[in-house]
Symmetry: C2
Subunit: 362 residues, 2 copies
């Protein structure tokens, strides 16, 4: 089978040149005589790669010296626990804004470690169709932090503009839209992301933590879940996921070569305009349940007139070389996930397929 | 540079055919049209790989249906916390046998979660030269479990025969000698191992937990550190480290093709006989500080007459194509780590180098 248009929600498409370079270098890493999987994480070759990766991430995100970047394991799901475990405790409270399944999971873990408030939610009858507006939020000015999920893969919503918390540090799970657009890091205390969308393969989790929040972290937490451990040891307290970091390095390099987030944002805007245009111009054959100003530019969810047509659409799409069009099992429907590695051409192609399908099945 | 003899302690040598297969298949995974890094962890292709991996591990280890095998992240270091977090608590006590740096780290974490006893230690003046004998142990018959480190990479010792705990389940960190020899799983309640020695690349941690211990695990632990979460969801609660699991699968297949642990044990025995023979037959030029019946078959540590000669040995060894001969930074000296992927030939070659070096520098 030839390589296909990959619209999986994550793990997701990676740039072809990243895969090809990884393949070509797989038996030998930087003249060391061994594969990157076989080299010591204390070797000078790996150490250089590790620090370059952190440097590239900081550069692309525009993070100043007041941020430490950690390369961890366990995915965003482990960060759901680590954030409150490190920052909550007696007499401390955090705000959690609810916009979907992932923010609910983050809230659930936080409740184990201290006082948490729901500072806003758009849940109605078990589903989320929008991002809360500023005036819909009930923010605590004394919160240690305010947690949000920047993009919601399942419900297809995205914070198009981050809320004003009046100085309370934002803690953001950016797993599914990191590096897809320019973000001013100033209001953020912690930004974390599992790699498997815009950063690389699954198995490495990037955490950027601002110095003032790091200082507030408890020192009593169990070693591996303590941000101090990883900040103090530059994420080399124990063996890191070397191969995943190596591919992350390549994806960051690729991102830089594309012109960084400013250039990718333009392409992502064009992709979103194209596919939402096709949905809104389909005379109701395709229907996006998300409010217009909350629509995700990464995960486009929509419905067809019947579930049977949705099944047919996903099946014929797969046969035509479009992988991963089925919506998340919890909500059904169709989902087109289009991260940085999905170029404008692949979105043009799927939009062409959508138009043909609508014409044939209306 | 040509591929070299890799004696790193971990990440360590992998079988060449595993690397070559990974390279050849990197752009397309099982006819899916995308790389294994790009496929959904919910896809039928990945699901099959995942279950095959677990099945192969159980088969090679001789684990019955009473063991659940989990594929996790965070390395053995995270297991140091997860084991007591799940199994200790009020009124419960665990035994910890101390044989080196890793067992000390495991003990340190356990103290955060309940009562722990040191049931034996061979530490003298900060170093460990042996494994405790049965009569040197002070075991608690009421302990929830008894923890040990099966092989000690830094001090070069190994449990050649596991202790009799009178029915108290052993919990073993087998990171550095798993699948290197036949082990009767009957006395073990939990066996865990970071992959980066005999199993694959860093970034995946294998945990085998017996049903009766799983039943004793707390249900209140934070979600990602709760063994129930991963057992209930077959290690697919969140996105697993797919690429690392894919290579683990290949290493397990390779292990099976070698004839399994019984065949590899014979080779490992021959390798150990060869190199310890060279050390003991060097008229004291090489000196292994470890008691003979505690010597590791995986990590062979030895000293030369002076630190200068050790430096020269490691430097000339590297120039001759032997990578990673320097001992761990905490103890100095020389270390030859020879896991399953290091064949008898590579040990013959390094022993030849040792003989030449001794002749030239005695």
């Amino acid at each position: 089978m030839a390589r296909v248009h990959n619209f999986y929600a994550g793990p997701a498409a990676l740039p072809l040149e990243v895969l090809e370079e990884t393949r070509d270098e797989l038996l030998e890493f930087r003249g060391s005589g061994v594969s990157v999987m076989e080299t010591s994480h204390r070797s000078k070759e790996f150490d250089a790669l590790h620090n370059e990766t952190i440097g590239l991430f900081k550069e692309l995100m525009g993070l100043g010296d007041n941020f430490k970047v950690l390369l961890l394991q366990g995915g965003a799901s482990l960060q759901f626990a680590m954030v409150p475990m490190n920052l909550l405790g007696e007499g401390k409270s955090a705000d959690y804004i609810q916009t979907g399944s992932w923010s609910k999971k983050a809230l659930k873990e936080a409740k184990l470690f201290g006082t948490v408030r729901v500072a806003g939610t758009t849940e109605k009858d078990g589903v989320f169709r929008s991002i809360p507006k500023q005036e819909e939020l009930d923010l605590d000015p004394n919160a240690v932090y305010c947690h949000l999920t920047s993009n919601n893969t399942i419900f297809g919503t995205q914070w198009r503009q981050f809320p004003d918390t009046g100085g309370v540090p934002l803690v953001a799970d950016m797993s599914s839209d990191i590096l897809s657009r320019a973000v001013d890091p100033a209001p953020f205390g912690i930004i974390y992301a599992g790699a498997q969308k815009n950063l690389g393969p699954s198995g490495v989790t990037v955490v950027a933590i601002r110095d003032d929040l790091l200082e507030k972290c408890s020192k009593d937490t169990t070693t591996m879940l303590n941000y101090h451990t990883h900040a103090d040891k530059n994420s080399l307290f124990n063996t890191p996921p070397c191969l995943a970091i190596y591919i992350l390095h390549k994806v960051l390099n690729w991102t830089k070569k594309q012109g960084g987030v400013a250039s990718l944002e333009k392409i992502n805007d064009a992709k979103a305009k194209l596919i939402y245009g096709a949905i809104d111009g389909s005379n109701g054959f395709y229907n996006c349940p998300v409010e217009k100003d909350s629509r995700s530019y990464m995960n486009v969810v929509f419905r067809l007139p019947t579930e049977e047509l949705e099944k047919k659409f996903a099946g014929e799409g797969l046969a035509a070389g479009f992988l991963g069009l089925k919506g998340h099992r919890s909500v059904g429907g169709i989902r087109v996930s289009m991260y940085n590695a999905n170029g404008l051409e692949s979105v043009k192609d799927v939009v062409g397929f959508m138009k043909d399908f609508a014409a044939q099945n209306s």
